[in-house]
């Protein structure tokens, strides 16, 4: 269950400098600087429309930067993305698509070099391994469409892992998932990170996120990230400019929210 990552792989895996990106000439994210190092586990929170998905799409080479540059494993995103395992947002899927769990996870084994080569035993082995990891091996031959939201999310995580990635990118991994599944997913991600996979996840789920990630930042058009371990009032002020901070902070576990005074 170890991730085969060669020692020659760079320490700085994603390097973003002065990035502007968006749609139709309008920038959704402004002047983003972000370094992601090996074994990081970064959680970015922010309101909807704050550019979380836009940032992920740019890292994945699905969206061209308007300004600034991005390197993934020292390469351009379109080349470097082969080292990335991507877990898209739940809502993009056709929830009634007829496919088995195994077939979904096996997609992680695909790449452009595999075009004329059928799946082999090694692929099946890796699929089983990843399914065991997300605790769904017994569901292997079931239809994806009959699984619960939390189970499906773990299938997508297994699919991303089947690519044996250096970096895992997750877009709202706990959206429309019940509380127990949410905890299970975060514990799983924690374990994956322990195994040496770098993780960047974006979410508006402040509650659970900070108890599992190593560092946390906030994205709302601009990025507020200085390697903090906890959500700070400053972060919320930047991230949720238009909302009263008290309202958002209400309901957060106490230990999550660092005291104002401690920062000085």
């Amino acid at each position: 269950m170890t991730m085969p990552l060669s020692k020659t792989k760079p320490e700085l895996q994603v390097e973003i400098k002065g990035l502007f990106a968006g749609y139709n000439g309008e920038a959704v994210i402004h002047n983003i600087d972000l370094d992601i190092n090996r074994r990081d586990f970064i959680g970015l929170i922010g309101p909807n429309g704050g550019g979380k998905t836009t940032l992920l799409k740019t890292i994945l080479g699905l969206l061209e930067p308007q300004q600034g540059n991005i390197h993934v494993m020292e390469k351009s995103p379109k080349i470097g993305r082969r080292y990335i395992g991507y877990v898209p947002q739940f809502s993009v899927f056709d929830s009634d698509f007829p496919i088995t769990v195994k077939d979904v996870v096996r997609m992680g084994r695909l790449n452009n070099q595999r075009l004329f080569h059928p799946f082999n035993q090694e692929d099946d082995q890796i699929v089983d391994e990843k399914l065991a990891w997300v605790d769904l091996l017994d569901q292997k031959n079931r239809a994806l469409r009959v699984l619960s939201g939390g189970q499906r999310q773990r299938v997508y995580i297994a699919r991303a892992l089947a690519a044996e990635p250096a970096i895992l990118l997750l877009d709202e991994p706990t959206i429309s998932v019940d509380f127990d599944s949410r905890r299970k997913i975060y514990e799983l991600l924690h374990e994956i990170n322990q195994q040496g996979v770098t993780i960047l996840l974006v979410s508006h789920d402040l509650n659970v996120i900070s108890s599992y990630v190593k560092t946390i930042g906030c994205l709302n058009r601009e990025l507020y990230y200085h390697g903090e371990k906890e959500i700070t009032p400053e972060m919320l002020k930047v991230g949720y400019k238009n909302c009263p901070v008290d309202l958002i902070a209400h309901g957060l576990p106490h230990r999550v929210l660092a005291e104002h005074e401690q920062d000085h």
Partner: protein, 271 residues
């Protein structure tokens, strides 16, 4: 039954049923899973413009339909992928314009025009050797492509973004698919007519995807079902003395509604 087979046109018609079923089941499955039913309807109706134009120019309408169908496929495919607006209005307008072009060219052509109706409503009993060869060629192409790129087509149908991140040639796969849709439309034109193609192309795959969870199995079932529906409709139309295309389509529609009902009851007895 032996009386039925003694007619040369009937033998051709039955052979055509077998041939169309193969491509129809495979492409129909991708059309249904990728939710491209509307675009396929658009391509089929636009192709009538080519029939009218070819009729006017005095060439074989199949070639006219082929040119229009492929051009419509490319344009509609590009519209669906490139525009951020809802593409259905634009496709709907092209759909109607294609029909209008066909009818106007038919008006401009002097002489007897009853033959043009057969392209709209099908005339499987008039299947010629050229039609059979076209069907044969399209089948070879479709089967070869799906065998070669099965896992990539499946990945792109399920989650195109993920496929792109894995560096699969999703744009090329889409171009191949849309080209095949254009070819299959022309192939089915003789069978059930341009107006009713969507039903024959989508019903077998839609039934399959109600009950099965494996794309390969859905394709195989869809091939079998379209074989049953086309030959069944054909034989029925012969004995009831009805037009074959609409009989096939009505039979397909009844089969789909029945499948939906069965699925509904199965589903509800589970939960």
């Amino acid at each position: 039954m032996s009386e039925l087979l003694s007619y040369g046109f009937m033998r051709n018609a039955l052979m055509a049923s077998v041939l169309v079923s193969l491509a129809c089941g495979i492409i129909g499955t991708l059309v249904v899973l990728k939710r491209m039913v509307f675009i396929t309807g658009g391509v089929a109706h636009t192709a009538y413009g080519g029939v009218g134009l070819a009729f006017f120019l005095g060439v074989n309408p199949v070639f006219g339909a082929l040119v229009f169908s492929l051009i419509a496929s490319f344009i509609m495919g590009a519209i669906q992928r490139k525009t951020r607006q809802r593409p259905d209005t634009l496709i709907g307008v092209m759909w109607a314009m294609g029909m209008a072009i066909g009818i106007i060219f038919a008006d401009l052509t002097p002489g007897y025009k009853a033959d043009l109706m057969s392209y709209l409503f099908g005339s499987i009993l008039a299947v010629t050797n050229i039609d059979l060869w076209l069907m044969f060629g399209v089948n070879i192409l479709v089967v070869a492509l799906i065998i070669t790129f099965y896992k990539e087509f499946q990945a792109a149908a399920f989650d195109e973004t993920f496929a792109r991140v894995r560096n699969l040639p999703v744009d090329l796969l889409y171009l191949i698919l849309i080209t095949m849709i254009g070819l299959v439309v022309v192939m089915l034109m003789r069978m059930v007519g341009l107006i009713m193609i969507i039903a024959l192309l989508t019903v077998p795959a839609a039934i399959g995807s109600l009950f099965l969870n494996n794309m390969k199995q859905i394709m195989l079932l869809a091939i079998g079902l379209s074989l049953i529906l086309t030959t069944g409709g054909l034989i029925l139309s012969y004995f009831l003395n009805l037009t074959s295309g609409p009989t096939i389509i009505l039979l397909s529609g009844i089969a789909y509604l029945t499948a939906l009902l069965i699925h509904h009851f199965l589903h509800h007895s589970h939960s």
